[in-house]
């Protein structure tokens, strides 16, 4: 019916309701081939988006996405689903704005309602230095045509009445960076939408397939790995796969996969925790972020408050979560909205973040031919998923780095030219 096979619409919903017919599978279970043109490691948003755009934009369909678990099991299903493009650096803004554009058109492009809710995004400033950084971001944003401005406490109160903007609180709200196009998306739907569309175009989704090694030849290191060599394939828990191109889209596990190709990364893995309350009648219309208080919050259409924070200070691959995360979180949320103390936290969880020193990703070519990285996504991988997929596909298919991701090259850590996204926040005053 379309490039997605079965087409979803109000009509199809009614038809199924009336006939009580069966819905078709969103993706099939393919027979694994022995050789693919491209193997993407990691069946999350980035991997699936890369596969989709390889197939859709570049006609490359002999592609496999391998994942040790199920689709979207990692950060794609564990994030707090916020999208925005009000970054600080011009390179960051351009990149994330393209992503927001893709999100805008995603429901029709993928024929799946990803429930984008452009409800407005507020980043609160509690100190004059934070306000200065907000101004900086707003000014850069405006120059790049991003809808973004600094507003005062009154306007904050008008947009989000539940925030306490009185000046006598411990962390008074002096103003906020307001970004009307920012909002939230149903994160799982984005994963499923890309999976469904990619599978229809012929991409193989190989779930439950763990990569045990990357095979290389000609490199400086042992077993032909490392700089100067090239990729020949992967060794998985379900057998070997040959491929001249292997793409690392494994977020928190990025170092482990990259070390298999002999390419150590400027990455440490830290858990990022999130939590959700029981549902309550909707009262919070915007997405609210406080950098100083390390908290962000939005209310889903189901009435739950979804919270996130900054990454755990201690690096670990453990997903158990901590009590102190919920304590800090609740304390800080109640600083902002003291009236919601009787809401109850229902569930907490963690995801793994691949943190780089400059809070920017590492994308594109590596010193090993055919081994590509799309890693270092830290806490902002969800926002970037669509554009990362699009630009990685372009880079792989065309054999040269897509313009939007040139600043995020792996070389910057040897050249000493880090990206300034962390710049604004690195020195606290």
């Amino acid at each position: 019916m379309s490039r997605h096979g079965y087409r979803y619409s109000a009509g199809s919903l009614i038809r199924h309701g009336l006939t009580r017919g069966e819905w078709p599978r969103m993706w099939s279970k393919p027979e694994r081939r022995s050789t693919y043109d491209v193997v993407i490691v990691g069946g999350g948003l980035h991997g699936l988006a890369t596969a989709y755009y390889l197939a859709k934009n570049h006609g490359m369909t002999n592609v496999a996405v391998v994942d040790k678990g199920y689709l979207g099991a990692g950060g794609s299903g564990r994030n707090t689903a916020i999208v925005r493009s009000n970054y600080l650096t011009p390179e960051g803004v351009a990149f994330y704005d393209r992503s927001l554009h893709l999100y805008n058109n995603m429901a029709t492009d993928l024929n799946l309602n990803v429930m984008l809710s452009k409800r407005g995004h507020l980043t609160l400033a509690h100190t004059d230095s934070a306000l200065r950084t907000m101004n900086w971001r707003a000014e850069v944003n405006k120059l790049l045509d991003i809808d973004s401005s600094v507003i005062g406490p009154k306007e904050v109160k008008r947009l989000t009445p539940s925030l306490d903007v009185s000046p006598d609180t411990r962390y008074p709200i002096l103003g906020a960076l307001y970004h009307p196009p920012g909002g939230i998306v149903r994160h799982d739907a984005v994963v499923w939408g890309y999976a469904r569309a990619a599978a229809y175009l012929g991409v193989h989704l190989l779930q439950g397939t763990e990569v045990l090694d990357i095979t290389c030849t000609g490199g400086d290191g042992p077993q032909g790995k490392g700089p100067g060599g090239r990729v020949t394939g992967i060794h998985t828990s379900r057998g070997d796969i040959n491929s001249p191109v292997v793409v690392n889209c494994t977020a928190g596990w990025a170092s482990l996969i990259s070390n298999m190709a002999g390419i150590p990364l400027a990455i440490t893995t830290h858990p990022l925790q999130a939590a959700v309350t029981e549902p309550c009648k909707v009262f919070l219309p915007t997405v609210v972020v406080s950098g100083s208080l390390h908290v962000y919050v939005s209310q889903t259409d189901r009435g739950e408050l979804v919270f996130g924070a900054s990454v755990d200070p201690v690096g670990t691959y453990r997903l158990n979560g901590t009590l102190e995360f919920t304590e800090e979180l609740a304390g800080h949320v109640l600083e902002l909205m003291p009236g919601i103390s009787k809401m109850r936290l229902m569930r907490q969880w963690s995801g793994l973040c691949d943190m780089t020193p400059d809070y920017s990703p590492i994308m594109g070519f590596t010193p090993v031919e055919g081994y590509f990285v799309d890693v270092g996504w830290g806490t902002y991988g969800f926002k970037a998923g669509p554009v990362a997929g699009e630009t990685m596909a372009e880079t792989i298919a065309n054999g040269c780095t897509a313009e939007l991701i040139a600043p995020f090259s792996i070389d910057r850590f040897t050249d000493g030219d880090l990206v300034g996204e962390k710049g604004a926040a690195a020195v606290g005053h």
Binding site: L13, G72, S129, E139, L143, R344, V427
Partner: protein, 952 residues
């Protein structure tokens, strides 16, 4: 309304002599002390408590305990209160949630008409076009239908929540027979024990059992209450077990705090939560009047409430059989008993608002208003999951069992197997003994390793292996679903049909199914529905339940209020010894990190003028101050600062800048040499802590052979900057043991002396304002005396205090940059124009290779002084410097102010190095969009670039 209260029961919790009044949806009701909200209402004949999430069908009592998904109500300003467990309080105002306009007539029921179209994930498949409608209509409607109670966000108070720490050797989660026995045995073995029970009373299922159960319970209660080593916390729940046995307990039974979070480091955790009865899946299983056997027993035996008039019992186990006696004694007519073990089944229940007819597996239609199901259990393995266990399904016993646990977590009671009360108690006892033995070993290790603790007075217990006789696993039918479809998840309104559809669409792993359908994601978080969901999926996949696996149960075990998690707000603030004076004298405060300090005293512009013309005082105590002693201090300074320190004379101070290993400017300050081996270092206010830790790091791990002692003295030395042309004159009046003349005490020197009679003050002649100025560092206990003496002695000189805002203007007029404002996270030494300061010929300095590399480059941005063409325009800080004809970013304003001294605006800006030459004309884009011209200045300083005013 007829009373459903029956005659007194032996184990009843209600106090019939104390009546409590409350309202339900605005109408007055009464109950007894000891009632739950639900039992009191049920006693008054209320049968409908809420409506379903999606189809808004009426809902009644299902489990009559904390996990009852149908009993979430609003109590005053508290949403989502569990009416099945919350005890009645006089005056409670209880209302139904998720209904509009009221419980009896709910507009939302209209969704039932379209129910057949609302299959799992229906919202993903529609509302896509036109996009306008999604943004402005569909989404708003969806949000209106959000479930749950009303949060009173307008309230400004935060209520009384509280926390405490605890360190029990053994913590027992669950106060049923096995838990009590475990606690007793552990205490007997010498362990300190905490026993936590979710209900307000100990005893677990013994409480609603027969006379034998009650008599065993009496014995256990007597023993546990007379045992001194056990802290009993009822109406409290263990909500989480985290790494290294860090355990969270939410205590509701506290006299002062509404809720209290207890954080316990536990030696051994004993998990004894009992079992949760699971519902049966069939058509109409959410009709009020369909109850689980546990609900019926609790209602009758704990609250003396009759659950109905005519009952059908569908039983698959002995507990279900036992409910017959309770029903009989409560005067409920038992219409039929359906035995699942004999192949009987329930196919469908009909009735609107209450069970009316029951269609059985053999085609009979029974008339009744109560259907009691007893089809088995869910193991609440939540805490075990958190301890790393992945419980495994046992087909024979038809439930999940623990698989492997770390040594410091033990399970006992129903979660591990079946048995008589005697067997459960025996297993609990053995568990308690084992837990205590392991905990005492941990206690021994802790005592031995901890510096402050005495040597243990007991021998380290040997490692004991687990030799407990496991409880039996009694065979139980796998009784999950009838031949019809019914609800699996009551709080999310998810039916077995939805799950099967999801599996068919490809969401056939339990995790994907959960995410797609939201099964187990509602407030009950899988407590009732996990096993049924797995069973339905197994059937859809035509595989065994054991192969389906389960979702991972995440903390918390039971929902915890944000208030309890937050507790009291602990947000430390720091205050200088003069801060009270500032506040009493008109200061407007600002927050600077943790410090509270005066921003100004009313008129910062006048404060600036007074410093330029007369003399001003500013409290700069937040400046980080580190006392450095030892023969190797200068080597340390050489390592951490970019400049050289070997030749600093005693009595001199020097400015220094620090960079990190990556070459980025990290801090600055002055350091003075007070004596041969004694220095005082100052840092930025916000950098004080980090610089101290950094110095310790280098000294301890890199140069342990160096002899340097670092002592932070920030709050101990109150710092007062006396600035202005008349500062020397003022100081002369209060200092008689130091020669303050320009020759004896030159710029960038330090002296020790008395100020206003306070001895041992450190005075250095430096300043951030560009004026003649002295910085006094005085012992804080006497600092207020000095401050007041300075003000008192200089009234004729025009002395007045000034705040941070005036200081910012003064320093900007003088062109002094601030690390972190005029530099950022990428700024290296050349950006801050430190070329003259940095010494690249040292052998070792933090960040040396990056310093050397930075000075090889010509493309790093440069900090410049900048003035707008129009002197009245003050470009906002963070304004961008752009190409004159476009939007290309060429730099930004880092600091800007109106200068009262010059009567014009002044700025510092970071610009591309190619634009840094004096006289370059730049375009600044203001926040309001206007573009104005500005010129790069010769120097950073706008006022007195030659520095004559400060050297006098």
């Amino acid at each position: 309304m007829s009373s459903h209260r029956i005659l007194s029961r032996p184990g009843e919790l209600i106090d019939r002599s104390t009546r409590l009044s409350f309202t339900w949806n605005g109408r007055p009701y009464t109950g007894y002390k000891g009632d739950t909200i639900a039992s009191a209402l049920a006693a008054e004949g209320v049968g409908v408590f809420s409506r379903g999430l999606k189809y808004h069908r009426r809902r009644g009592i299902l489990t009559a305990d904390h996990w009852d998904p149908n009993l979430a109500v609003q109590v005053g300003d508290e949403p989502n209160v569990r009416a099945g467990s919350r005890r009645l309080v006089e005056g409670m105002q209880v209302t139904a949630q998720n209904v509009w306009p009221c419980l009896r007539f709910d507009i939302g029921t209209a969704t039932r008409l379209v129910g057949r179209f609302l299959s799992a994930g229906f919202y993903y498949k529609t509302f896509m076009r036109p996009r306008f409608l999604w943004n402005h209509v569909y989404q708003r409607v969806l949000r209106k239908f959000a479930p749950g109670g009303q949060v009173h966000w307008q309230t400004k108070s935060h209520d009384n929540y509280d926390k405490r720490y605890a360190h029990p050797d053994v913590l027992v989660a669950g106060g049923g027979p096995a838990g009590i026995a475990a606690a007793l045995a552990a205490a007997k073995a010498g362990a300190s024990v905490m026993l936590v029970e979710q209900e307000p009373e100990l005893g677990g299922h013994l409480r609603w059992g027969g006379p034998d159960d009650l008599s065993v319970l009496d014995g256990l209660l007597e023993a546990v209450q007379s045992c001194s080593g056990i802290e009993i916390l009822c109406d409290s729940v263990v909500t989480g077990r985290y790494d290294h046995n860090w355990v969270a307990i939410m205590q509701r039974s506290h006299p002062v705090a509404l809720e209290r979070l207890i954080k316990a480091r536990v030696g051994s955790l004993v998990v004894a939560p009992g079992l949760i009865e699971r519902p049966y899946v069939f058509a109409g299983n959410d009709t009020p009047g369909v109850m689980l056997s546990g609900a019926v027993k609790r209602l009758i035996n704990l609250w003396a409430v009759s659950p109905g008039h005519r009952a059908v019992v569908f039983s698959a186990n002995l507990e279900g059989d036992a409910v017959l006696a309770d029903l009989e004694s409560a005067g409920v007519e038992v219409v039929a008993v359906l035995d699942a073990r004999a192949g009987d089944d329930v196919v469908r229940v009909k009735g609107k608002g209450r069970v009316k007819t029951i269609l059985t597996g053999d085609g009979q239609t029974l008339e009744a208003d109560l259907l009691v199901t007893a089809v088995g259990w869910t193991s609440p393995t939540s805490l075990l999951n958190m301890a790393g266990d992945r419980p495994v399904y046992d087909q024979v016993a038809a439930r999940y069992f623990p698989q492997s646990l770390p040594d410091n977590v033990l399970a006992t009671g129903g979660i591990t197997g079946d048995g008589s009360i005697t067997e459960l108690v025996a297993h609990g006892r053995e568990t308690g003994t084992l837990a205590a033995s392991r905990a005492m070993r941990i206690r021994h290790d802790r005592m031995s390793a901890t510096a402050r603790s005495p040597k243990p007075s007991f021998d380290r217990p040997a490692a004991v292996s687990d030799e407990r006789v496991p409880l039996r696993r009694v065979p139980h039918p796998e009784c999950y679903q009838s031949s019809t479809h019914g609800l699996v998840d009551f709080s999310e309104d998810i039916s077995s049909k939805d799950l099967i559809q999801a599996a068919a669409e490809g969401f056939d792993s339990i995790e994907l199914m959960k995410r797609y359908t939201t099964v187990t994601m509602g407030p009950s978080q899988g407590k009732l529905e996990t096993v049924n969901a797995a069973a339905v999926l197994a059937e859809a996949r035509q595989t065994a339940i054991v192969d389906v696996g389960t979702t991972v149960w995440r903390p918390p075990f039971a929902p915890v209020s944000l208030g309890a998690l937050a507790g009291q707000s602990f947000e430390p603030t720091r205050r200088s010894a003069i801060q009270n004076w500032h506040e009493a004298n008109g200061a407007t405060n600002m927050l600077a990190g943790q410090w509270v300090r005066p921003d100004h005293y009313g008129n910062p512009m006048a404060e600036v003028a007074n410093v330029r013309n007369n003399v001003g005082l500013i409290d700069v105590t937040p400046l980080g101050k580190l006392d450095l002693r030892g023969p190797d201090v200068s080597r340390l300074l050489d390592l951490v600062y970019v400049n050289k320190w070997q030749n600093l004379e005693i009595g001199r101070v020097r400015y220094g800048v620090m960079v990190a290993e990556d070459g980025v400017v990290s801090d600055d300050g002055v350091t003075g040499r007070l004596a041969e081996e004694h220095y005082l270092m100052t840092t930025t206010s916000s950098g004080a802590g980090a610089v101290w830790e950094m110095l310790e790091d280098w000294l301890q791990t890199y140069r342990p052979e160096w002899e340097v002692h670092v002592t932070p003295v920030t709050g101990g030395l109150t710092s007062i900057n006396v600035a202005g042309p008349r500062s020397r004159e003022l100081l002369k009046r209060l200092v008689d043991d130091v020669d303050l003349s320009a020759t004896a005490f030159p710029y960038f020197s330090v002296r020790k002396g008395s100020v206003a009679g306070v001895q041992d003050c450190i005075i250095w002649r430096i300043g951030f304002t560009g004026e003649l100025s002295y910085e006094i560092h005085a012992h804080s206990g006497y600092a207020l005396h000095i401050w007041e003496a300075l003000l008192g002695a200089g009234s004729d000189l025009g002395v007045a205090p000034f705040g941070v805002e005036a200081q910012r203007i003064l320093r900007l007029e003088k062109g002094h940059y601030i690390v972190g404002q005029d530099t950022d996270g990428l700024s290296k030494a050349p950006t801050a124009s430190l070329g003259g300061l940095v010494k690249l010929d040292k052998l070792d300095t933090i960040g040396l290779p990056e310093l050397r590399a930075a000075f090889q480059r010509s493309d790093l941005p440069v900090l410049v002084g900048l003035q707008t063409e129009d002197p009245s325009i003050v470009p906002e800080e963070a304004c961008q410097i752009v190409s004159s004809d476009g939007n290309e970013i060429l730099g930004r304003i880092t600091s800007s102010r109106m200068s009262p001294t010059l009567g014009r605006s002044v700025c510092l800006a970071q610009v591309y190095s190619s634009l840094a030459a004096a006289g370059t004309l730049l375009t600044v884009k203001l926040v309001d969009g206007r573009r104005v011209k500005a010129t790069v200045q010769e120097q950073h300083a706008h006022v007195d670039p030659e520095g004559e005013r400060q050297r006098v």
